[in-house]
C-alpha cells in the first residue's frame, strides 16, 4: 500500500516552506521594485547599464552580506535597495533548507535530517568558499 502522509495538503513542513518561499519572494520583489523606482529618482533614467558599479562582486556571500549591511561600500540608496532584494532572494531557498533540517530533527526523522543537513552543508560551503 502506498503511504502518502508526507504529501497530504497542508502538512506542517509544506505549509512552513510555502510561507518562507512566498514571504522571501514578496520581500525581495518589493525591495527590487523600490530599488528600480529609486534608480529612476537618483539617475533620471532606467537604462540597463554595463558600468562596473552595476555588477555585484565579492569573495564570498557572507563577506558580501557584511559589506552590504555594515560596510558602507554602496553608493546611493537605489543600488543598495536592489542589492538587498537580491540578497533576500538568495537567502530564501537557503532559509527553507535550514528550516527543513530543524523540522526533520524535531520530528526525529533522522534519515531526512541527514539528507537535508547534507544539502545545507553543500549550500553553505558554496556560499562561503566562492
Amino acid at each position: 500500500m502506498i503511504s502518502s502522509h508526507q504529501n497530504q495538503k497542508g502538512s506542517k513542513l509544506e505549509v512552513g516552506i510555502s510561507y518562507v518561499l512566498a514571504s522571501g519572494v514578496v520581500a525581495s520583489l518589493v525591495l527590487m521594485g523600490a530599488g528600480i523606482l529609486l534608480f529612476y529618482w537618483e539617475f533620471g533614467n532606467l537604462a540597463i547599464s554595463e558600468k562596473k558599479g552595476m555588477f555585484l562582486q565579492e569573495k564570498n556571500f557572507f563577506y558580501f552580506l557584511y559589506d552590504l549591511l555594515w560596510g558602507g561600500n554602496f553608493h546611493g540608496k537605489a543600488l543598495w535597495t536592489m542589492t538587498l532584494g537580491i540578497v533576500v532572494l538568495i537567502l530564501t531557498p537557503y532559509a527553507w533548507v535550514v528550516m527543513s533540517v530543524l523540522y526533520f530533527l524535531k520530528e526525529k526523522d533522522f534519515k531526512f535530517f541527514l539528507v537535508t543537513l547534507l544539502v545545507s552543508l553543500i549550500l553553505t560551503l558554496s556560499l562561503a568558499t566562492h
Binding site: 527590487m32 532606467l46 540597463i48 555585484l56 537580491i86 538568495i90 530564501t92 553543500i122
Partner: protein, 276 residues
C-alpha cells in the same frame, strides 16, 4: 539596448510559460537576453539569479497544494547543488562561443521528455527500489484536471540522483533551471507522474540556482540593472503560471513545451553560428 521597464514587461510572459512547462523561465530568458545584445556569460549569471525568484514563487503554491514531493526534492537536491557548483565554475573559464552550442544541445535533450512519456499518463505503477523504500519517497496528490487522487511510487533513486547531478551541472553552466532535463529524469527514471515531476522540479531549481549564483557572485557577472527587472517580471508571470498549471491537461502543456523549446534551439544555434 532596452530599459528596465521594457525588460520587466517582457519577462512577465516568460515567467508564466516557464512555470507552466517546468522549464523554469531562464531557458527562455537567456536566449532572449542574448538576442537583446547582452553578453552571454552575463545573461547566464543573471538568469541563474532570477530563477530563484521564478521557482520559489511557483513552488510556494505547489508545495502548499501538496503536488510537489518535498522528500524527493531534498534527496535530489544533494546531486543538483553539487552539479551546479561545478557547472558554474566551468562557465567562468570557457569561451562564450561554446556556450551558445552547449545551450542549444542541452535544450534539444528536453525533447526526450515528450517522446518517451505517454501523453495523458497520470498514474505510476513502478515498484520502489530499496533506497526509495528506505527513504519513504512515495506520495500522492489530488489532480484537479482529472478530479481524482493520484498515488505513485518512486523507482531507481540513485540512478535518478546521477541524472540530477548532470541536470545541476547543465543548470550551473548555462544559467538555467534545467527544468526540462530534471522533469525527464523524474518521469523516465524515477517514474513520477508529470505534474509531480514539473512541480518538484520547480522546487529543486531554487536550490540549484542558489549554488550556481554564489559562483557568479565571486566572478562579478551579476548585473543589478538586469537582475532586478528580470526577477520582478518572471516572478509575477510564475505566480499566475503556478495557479494555471493544475487546471491544464498534460497534452496542452506538452504542445506549449515543444513549440517554445524548438524556437529557442534555433535562436541559440543562429547566434552561435553568426558569432563564428
Amino acid at each position: 539596448m532596452i530599459d528596465m521597464v521594457s525588460l520587466l514587461l517582457i519577462t512577465v510572459p516568460v515567467g508564466l510559460v516557464g512555470a507552466l512547462t517546468g522549464l523554469g523561465g531562464a531557458s527562455i530568458l537567456v536566449p532572449l537576453l542574448v538576442f537583446l545584445g547582452i553578453p552571454v556569460k552575463e545573461a547566464i549569471a543573471c538568469g541563474m539569479a532570477s530563477i530563484i525568484a521564478t521557482c520559489s514563487g511557483s513552488a510556494a503554491s505547489y508545495v502548499r497544494e501538496g503536488i510537489a514531493n518535498v522528500r524527493v526534492a531534498m534527496f535530489l537536491g544533494i546531486f543538483t547543488t553539487a552539479g551546479a557548483i561545478l557547472g558554474a565554475t566551468i562557465t567562468t573559464k570557457i569561451s562564450p562561443l561554446l556556450l551558445y552550442f552547449f545551450f542549444a544541445a542541452f535544450l534539444a535533450t528536453s525533447f526526450l521528455r515528450s517522446k518517451r512519456t505517454p501523453p495523458e499518463s497520470t498514474t505510476s505503477s513502478a515498484w520502489p527500489d530499496p533506497v526509495s523504500r528506505w527513504l519513504n519517497l512515495q506520495g500522492g496528490y489530488f489532480d484537479e484536471a482529472y478530479q481524482r487522487r493520484i498515488d505513485y511510487r518512486v523507482n531507481h533513486a540513485l540512478l535518478g540522483g546521477g541524472g540530477m547531478f548532470l541536470a545541476g551541472l547543465a543548470a550551473g553552466m548555462l544559467g538555467i533551471g534545467a527544468g526540462a532535463f530534471k522533469v525527464t529524469v523524474q518521469e523516465n527514471i524515477l517514474k513520477l507522474p508529470p505534474k509531480v515531476s514539473s512541480t518538484t522540479s520547480n522546487f529543486i531549481i531554487g536550490m540549484t540556482a542558489l549554488a550556481g549564483t554564489s559562483v557568479y557572485l565571486y566572478s562579478g557577472l551579476l548585473n543589478l540593472t538586469l537582475m532586478g527587472p528580470m526577477a520582478v517580471g518572471t516572478t509575477i508571470g510564475a505566480f499566475f503560471g503556478g495557479r494555471m498549471l493544475n487546471k491544464l491537461r498534460n497534452r496542452t502543456l506538452r504542445a506549449l513545451f515543444f513549440l517554445i523549446v524548438s524556437f529557442l534551439i534555433v535562436q541559440m544555434i543562429y547566434k552561435g553560428v553568426s558569432s563564428l
